[in-house]
């Protein structure tokens, strides 16, 4: 039992350091790769914790490797937009000028109820207030309200819309 206690402490400290090195994100803001890495690390760490027959290195080495891969992927994603899109996807407009874009919702497999729930969490109770509703790659909903003045944010949303239109045109021609 003492062995288990010492192993648990060592693995706990090691995982804390590993996750700290990976960077700070709340679970809701995690990208796909970060979420996958965190889940796998927790599984891998638990094995030598419970099974004293298994060497600690069999837990430490995979965790080190996962953290290294995660950091490398995040660096590549910073440098390559295409890679970033391939790995985590891109934001998708689901509400435009108060109108829900049903096709986009269908594509994302999000129901109306889910969307309304996300809107309420953003304290939006009337669709007419919404100029743009954008589902981010991590699944959260960003709202640009009609009352918001023209700003760089709006311009970036127009860029998103332009990009979206290009993607749609490309999909149609394919």
């Amino acid at each position: 039992m003492l062995t288990i206690i010492i192993r648990t402490l060592l693995i706990y400290i090691f995982v804390i350091i590993a996750v700290r090195i990976m960077g700070k994100r709340q679970v809701a803001d995690m990208q796909t790769t970060e979420l996958v890495t965190t889940l796998i690390i927790s599984e891998v760490a638990s094995l030598p914790m419970q099974n004293t027959n298994q060497p600690l290195l069999s837990g430490f080495v995979p965790i080190l490797l996962l953290v290294a891969i995660e950091i490398i992927i995040s660096i590549i994603m910073m440098k390559s937009r295409r890679f970033r899109t391939a790995v985590i996807g891109h934001p998708i407009i689901v509400i435009r000028d108060g109108v829900i874009l049903k096709e986009q919702l269908k594509r994302l497999r999000i129901s109306f109820e889910d969307l309304y729930s996300l809107l309420r969490q953003q304290e939006v109770f009337d669709l007419k207030e919404v100029r743009y509703g954008i589902i981010e790659p991590n699944g959260s909903l960003s709202i640009l309200s009609r009352s918001h003045p023209d700003s760089a944010l709006l311009k970036s949303s127009r860029d998103i819309e332009d990009e979206l239109n290009k993607i749609e045109e490309k999909e149609e021609t394919e």
Binding site: I21, N53, P55, L57, V61, L64, L65, A68, I71, I72
Partner: protein, 126 residues
Amino acid sequence: MKRGIIAAVFLLLCIGITAYEYIYITVNTDSFVTMLTTAENEIEHNEILSAEEISKRAEHRFEDAERMLNLFLIHSEVDFIAQNLSKLSRYAHAGSTAEFLATSSATKKALLSLSRSEAPIIENIL
């Protein structure tokens, strides 16, 4: 950039540990298998004392290697080999050729299995 360097260090560490483990296990298991094969030949030719001496040598050498092997491998697998090696010299001393050969064969299989399971081949990966 700092995180990039950390990632590179972690990768090198993983590769270093893996390479060291693979080489250590392969070299050691090969030498133990050779010793056991020699001991088997000796006992088959009724060279009991020689077989006993080789078995004892193998047992002591494995005790030295055991600590490092336990860092890398499942402890029960290492213990199984250690237990078998400790039996061999007693079987040789008692002149129990059949038990000696059976235990030696099982130990050799376990040693080869250890080194084979570390190889990055398709069967192990899948």
